[in-house]
């Protein structure tokens, strides 16, 4: 079955991974839109057309994506969901409770399908569910009404009508039938900077109605200008709207006015009403106060922006580059100060340098702050999982969540989803006993899983606890011995024995059930956390329960590094190991028994040339900089050609065929410089002294 195997392997491809993450994002957005929709239905019953349109776009994207990957079942499901939503936004399908429930089910089913794409057996089962649901959707969606096609009564350039999508046409008809004014607002902008002005204009129009279409056209100077026509529906007529929007150089003209045009255009008259719409055809007179309040609330929503995390990474990199430049300014200031003729200018530059330094630090913490997100979304996912498990396994378990507002770096939060999900499933599946067992042990029949997050200093702690059967420490130990993880005669404390559950290949139960996450063990939990600089700890009392504590850095494990240059290459040296840096004249360096030494304040400092250590060409012209490294009591001066500044870096392992290169601790990514290797200071210092002893 080679073909089948390669199919599942292709799922690791970049496009596939992007598909999965994008599909998950879309599903998450749909869930949130559906819940807003439910709120609006429960409220005044008036549903925001943009919400339905957003759901439609989501379903539409899902269909396209699934189709592209040959996932026919999913594509089919998304297609039908899209049909329902299309009908709804075009006014053909009434949004009633059965339809709302169908949509909830479709989204849930899609998500479930996604989660077992790699398991052909599972997906066969659910594809029956897909067929069944699709059948029910078909029943719910009635035959579409033939679209009316006559918008000729409007005073509008046919080209503008042509650029309307079917949905936009429907909105136009809908607004006509509501008796709104249709107006065309036009303005010319500089093409390179139209966003802000256009957004302002659209916003102003929206305060009194709806923007149906935004049509760009060439301005009078087509190279530098662009003209936008906003086809809009408004409660105000063209004159009142012109006064109201108060936008320089905007022209507003009427395309259709309900009073002046005696007859509603044919299109409006035939505009399809929702099937089974419950009678509320009369448009109530607009309540100005309510409207004003709504505008206010819309404004407050628009205060937040969504930002792609990669843009924040770019910002962070820019800050990193600033830090390098700052270092350069500092060294120029020092040089100027050391020469009496320029000492004054040097002092002034030094002041500027210090100020710059503070501002850059503020900027840095500002950017870090923006990356922080609350754990709420993860918690919501956990609730959903437990709800589903409760249903599927018929087990009485309560999930208590605390600290959903605790904030963490977005990337860490992403890495947390799987481990938390796994821990909660583990508790549900293995730790919480059956009802009978619990009653027999004198525990409440309902088991409890608690997830609690809180901040402590620079860390966030997340505790996942349960009141289940606890971990049998001796059984863990025995198993670890059987598996050869520890030797029989190793003396271990209770806690060390418990920690064995994190060893690779360890699992306390042989059965692999769906809910335990299929073979993903505690070792994987540990690895995921280590990858983001976290620590995991477990505490358990037999018969009473287990608590797993995750300790995470608030932001990604950023360490400060000194970037040094040798020849055309750069290395990063962790700043914690750097005692000081010195600029020396080549003549200051002495030799003794073939070793190079430097007199530093009366003490002899052993020197090593990084170029020689790593077999790089030496630059005889360069004035060497000495980076003084400290390891315990040992001191070593590392000679490099240049100091290029300090950087906040995240150390990553170097993957590839050659592992454990002596002297290299890992690598980091520094903006435009790409990968930069990080020195293993301990190894470099130890080697220097070992060779010294050997010599």
């Amino acid at each position: 079955m080679a073909a089948r195997r390669s199919r599942s392997r292709s799922r690791r491809s970049k496009a596939y991974r992007e598909f999965v993450s994008e599909a998950e994002e879309i599903l998450e957005r749909m869930r949130s839109d559906l819940s807003d929709l439910a709120d609006q239905r429960a409220g005044d019953g008036d549903v925001d057309p943009e919400l339905v349109n957003s759901l439609f776009r989501s379903a539409h994207s899902l269909k396209g994506l699934a189709g592209m990957f040959g996932l026919d079942g999913l594509s089919e499901l998304a297609h039908h969901l899209e049909d329902v939503l299309d009908g709804m936004r075009l006014g053909r399908v009434a949004l009633d409770s059965p339809v709302a429930v169908l949509m909830d089910e479709a989204v849930a089913l899609f998500a479930a399908e996604m989660s077992h794409l790699d398991d052909p057996k599972q997906s066969v089962e659910t594809s029956e569910a897909v067929t069944e649901l699709v059948g029910r959707i078909d029943v719910a969606v009635r035959e579409p009404a033939p679209p009316a096609n006559d918008l000729d009564g409007l005073d509008l350039d046919p080209a503008m009508l042509r650029a309307l999508t079917e949905y936009e046409e429907h909105r136009l008809r809908e607004n006509l039938s509501r008796g709104r004014h249709i107006v065309l607002v036009e303005a010319t902008f500089e093409i390179l900077a139209f966003d802000e002005g256009l957004a302002e204009l659209s916003e102003a129009v929206r305060e009194t109605g709806e923007v149906l279409s935004t049509l760009p056209s060439p301005g009078a100077a087509p190279d530098s200008q662009i003209r936008f026509g906003l086809l809009s529906a408004s409660d105000l007529d063209a004159d009142s709207l012109r006064k109201r929007i108060d936008f320089q150089d905007a022209s507003v003209r009427s395309v259709w006015a309900p009073d002046a045009n005696a007859a509603v255009p044919a299109a409006a008259a035939t505009s399809a009403k929702p099937h089974g719409a419950d009678g509320a055809a009369e448009e109530p007179a607009p309540d100005l106060h309510a409207e004003a309040a709504e505008i206010e609330s819309l404004k407050s929503i628009s205060d937040t922006v969504r930002v792609d995390i990669r843009k924040l990474d770019e910002l962070m990199n820019l800050v990193g580059e600033l830090v390098i430049q700052r270092g350069a300014v500092g060294s120029i200031a020092r040089r100027l100060r050391s020469d009496p003729s320029t000492a004054r200018a040097g002092l002034e530059l030094d002041k500027v340098h210090k100020l710059l330094d503070r501002k850059i630090q503020d900027l840095q913490s500002g950017v870090l702050e923006v990356r922080m997100v609350p754990l709420r979304q993860v918690f919501e996912k956990l609730s959903r999982v437990v709800r589903r498990l409760r249903r599927d396994l018929d087990k009485d378990v309560r999930l208590e969540l605390k600290g959903a507002d605790t904030e963490l770096d977005k990337l860490i939060v992403e890495e947390l989803v799987d481990p938390l999900m796994h821990l909660v499933r583990n508790s549900f599946d293995h730790a919480i006993e059956s009802g009978e067992e619990r009653r027999a042990a004198g525990k409440p029949q309902e088991g409890t899983i608690g997830v609690q997050a809180f901040q402590r200093g620079n860390h966030v702690l997340i505790e996942v606890s349960d009141d289940g059967r606890g971990i049998d420490v001796e059984a863990v130990h025995t198993r670890a011995v059987e598996r050869g993880i520890v030797a029989v005669d190793d003396v271990l404390t209770q806690h060390e024995k418990l920690d064995l559950v994190f060893s690779p290949g360890f699992s306390t139960r042989d059965e692999i059930t769906e809910t335990s996450g299929r073979g993903v063990g505690m070792d994987v939990v540990k690895n995921n956390l280590t990858a983001v600089g976290g620590v995991v700890d477990v505490d358990s009392r037999e018969g009473r329960g287990t608590t797993v504590t995750l300790t995470l850095p608030i932001t990604l494990a950023i360490i400060q590094a000194l970037v040094v240059g040798v020849g055309d290459q750069r290395y990063a040296v962790p700043l914690t190991a750097v005692l000081e840096t010195l600029l020396v004249e080549p003549g200051d360096i002495q030799r003794s028994e073939g070793r190079e030494i430097l007199n530093v304040r009366g003490e002899a400092l052993l020197l090593r040339r990084l170029a020689r250590e790593f077999g790089l060409p030496e630059d005889p012209q360069a004035k060497p900089h000495v980076v003084v490294l400290g390891l315990g009591d040992l001191r070593l001066g590392l000679l490099v050609d240049r100091l290029e500044g300090q950087q906040d870096t995240v150390i990553k392992p170097v993957q590839g065929p050659v592992q454990n290169v002596r002297g290299i601790a890992g690598a980091t990514e520094l903006g435009d410089l790409g990968a930069v290797l990080v020195l293993d200071v301990a190894a470099v210092v130890e080697d220097a002294y070992r060779r010294r002893e050997a010599a």
Binding site: K14, A15, E18, F19, E22, R57, H60, S61, K63, G64, L65, G67, M68, S75, E82, D86, P147, A159, M160, R162, A163, L164, T165, E166, E168, I191, L192, F194, D195, S213, T214, L215, P216, S217, P218, P222, D223, S224, I226
Partner: protein, 128 residues
């Protein structure tokens, strides 16, 4: 060197389109933007030889983008391919009426896209 602009709001579709169009070979540079507005901003600064656009996007739709390009003296000659989901036959008609050079339906056949793109780029090259 000819330059192709992809206008598509879905990151996955964008990646797929880009890698498919990489099939045009070394003489073609692929650029990607994620919205119609961004396309409008880039077009005056950079000369493109082909634009491939989605229809459903959050700011302006693909038809509006086509309408803009085809009514402009500056951009009229740039060939345009619309890529959309089968959905609406009327959107398709409108796209072609507005002056789009081709209309492909998602999930599109990658070889067909490359073939059409190559054809349009070749014609464009001969005009210059």
């Amino acid at each position: 060197m000819q330059r192709v602009l992809i206008v598509e709001d879905s990151a996955t579709m964008r990646a797929l389109l880009a890698s498919t169009l990489e099939g045009l070979g070394d003489g073609v540079e692929i650029h990607e933007v994620e919205s119609g507005f961004e396309a409008l901003r880039r077009m005056p600064r950079e000369a493109f030889d082909l634009i491939v656009t989605d229809i459903n996007m959050p700011d302006i739709n693909g038809l509006e983008l086509v309408s803009f390009a085809k009514t402009s003296d500056v951009y009229r000659e740039i060939p345009l391919i619309i890529i959309s989901t089968e959905g609406s036959e009327r959107d398709r008609e409108k796209g072609l009426e507005l002056g789009a050079d081709a209309y492909l339906v998602k999930p599109f056949d990658p070889d067909r896209l490359v073939e059409i793109a190559r054809e349009l780029l070749k014609k464009r090259g001969e005009e210059d």
